[in-house]
Amino acid sequence: MTGNLTSEIRQLLAELTGNSRPLDAPLETALLRDGIGLDSLGGTVLLTQIEQRYGVDIAGEDLNLDSLASIGTLVAYLSAQLGRR
């Protein structure tokens, strides 16, 4: 489950950034700024797509947006939210 989710999220990030780096970057790679390089616009589109695809409203649930720290934290957060259903 987490394995599939990880590759889905990597795919989504690759589509958003228009490059293939997210496909094989280490899980601890940061999403914002220097890591994957998402800015506030890219981050917003990511959250919108996650809400549409998985029904998880990260912006409403995770005030701190700690889940956006890295590829790994995002997958872990999503997986925990989906597991609760």
């Binding site: 914002l32 800015d39 506030s40 616009l41 917003t44 409203d57 912006a59 005030l63």
Partner: protein
């Protein structure tokens, strides 16, 4: 407040149907007049039409207006409106949609309930309603349509550009200029406090008189941020109010969504933190409304190393007590002992 009107073409802006006419149809004179009237108030004009792209060019010729965005194709109108909202950085509440076809109007109303959906015969009167009458008119507002055209040119070039976003910002000769607010900035600062939502920490209007008091007060600093590049000059796109001290308090941070994706908010936050640290402060505290609309600002805060302070966690707890739709406030805190990013080379400070 309506910031953009999205027009259908066939039997709406056109007197006739583009693909069914031997001679391409003329503009509907009344509605073309409304386009010009609203554009003059700083409201953007856009096109969503089930037609080939040439129809939009024809619309520009017959109405004499250069539209801020045009989406022609055969997909759902709601999808076209969504794409235009993304391109122009708008939320659904800021959009009006005009279409003669009842089915199209129903599809948009159902899918995007926050969009104001109008029949063509209603728009001339609706143009007189308060949501179409901005309370203040600044130079930036009057030039808004022109600024969005520059934005279109910039986005087209960005799509074709191979490098990273930072490389594109440099390639476009981006200039972010941070300065201290002066009385000449008052109307635009007020306007930003009314119009910005995606990048607004406080979410309430601040009058020119209130800003004047803040500028005159020894307890407050009001900073402005201006943006320009080789595509054009966007003018004053953001501002913040600061109370200096051991902890710098930022009761208001706001930025135009026009500056979205151009490195401005990141540079501005870096500047605030670096200036606070240079003045001897240990942290920056920024109370921020928690709404679905200001997610871009909260992402920028997270990216700049701000964390929601512990006090807020205590107050709001977790789970059932928290309602993300009610517009609560959380205090974002940046510990200045942690490493700070460098101010980008293209940002100038006072």
């Amino acid at each position: 407040m309506i910031k953009c009107v999205i027009w259908d073409l066939d039997n709406t802006l056109f007197d006739g149907v583009y693909l069914e006419s031997d001679v391409p149809p003329a503009a509907n004179a009344t509605l073309a007049g409304v386009v010009h009237e609203l554009a003059g108030r700083g409201i953007l004009q856009a096109i969503a039409s089930k037609n080939p792209p040439e129809a939009a060019q024809h619309a520009e010729r017959v109405t004499g207006h250069a539209f801020a965005a045009a989406l022609c194709g055969w997909g759902a109108k709601s999808a076209a409106i969504r794409a235009i909202m993304t391109e122009l950085g708008l939320t659904a509440e800021a959009v009006a949609f005009v279409d003669d076809d009842a089915l199209e109007r129903a599809e948009v109303s159902f899918t995007l309930p926050d969009v104001l959906v109008l029949e063509p015969q209603d728009i001339p009167e609706a143009a007189g309603w308060p949501p179409f009458s901005p309370p203040v008119m600044t130079d930036e507002a009057r030039r808004r349509g022109e600024l969005y055209l520059q934005r279109r040119a910039r986005q087209e070039e960005a799509r074709a550009f191979g490098g990273s976003r930072d490389e594109f910002l440099r390639h476009s000769q981006t200039r972010v200029t941070i300065g201290r607010a002066t009385p000449a900035d008052l109307p635009r600062l007020h306007e930003l406090s009314v119009r910005t939502h995606q990048f607004n920490s406080a979410g309430s209007a601040v009058s020119e008189a209130e800003f004047a008091d803040l500028i005159g007060s020894p307890s407050y600093e009001v900073a402005t941020v201006r943006l320009a590049d080789r595509f054009g000059d966007d003018g004053l796109v953001g501002g913040c109010v600061v109370v200096t001290g051991g902890t710098w308090q930022v009761p208001l941070l706001m930025m135009s969504c026009r500056a979205l994706g151009r490195g401005v908010i990141d540079a501005f936050l870096t500047w605030i933190c670096r200036t606070a640290r240079a003045a001897g402060a240990a942290q920056v505290a920024l109370p921020c409304l928690i709404t679905p609309r200001n997610v871009p600002l909260r992402i920028a805060l997270t990216g700049a190393g701000f964390k929601v302070g512990p006090a807020d966690h205590n107050r709001h707890g977790t789970g059932a007590h928290r309602d993300p739709r009610t517009g609560r406030t959380a205090v974002y805190v940046r510990d200045l002992g942690e490493p700070l990013a460098d101010l980008p080379s293209w940002a100038r400070q006072p």
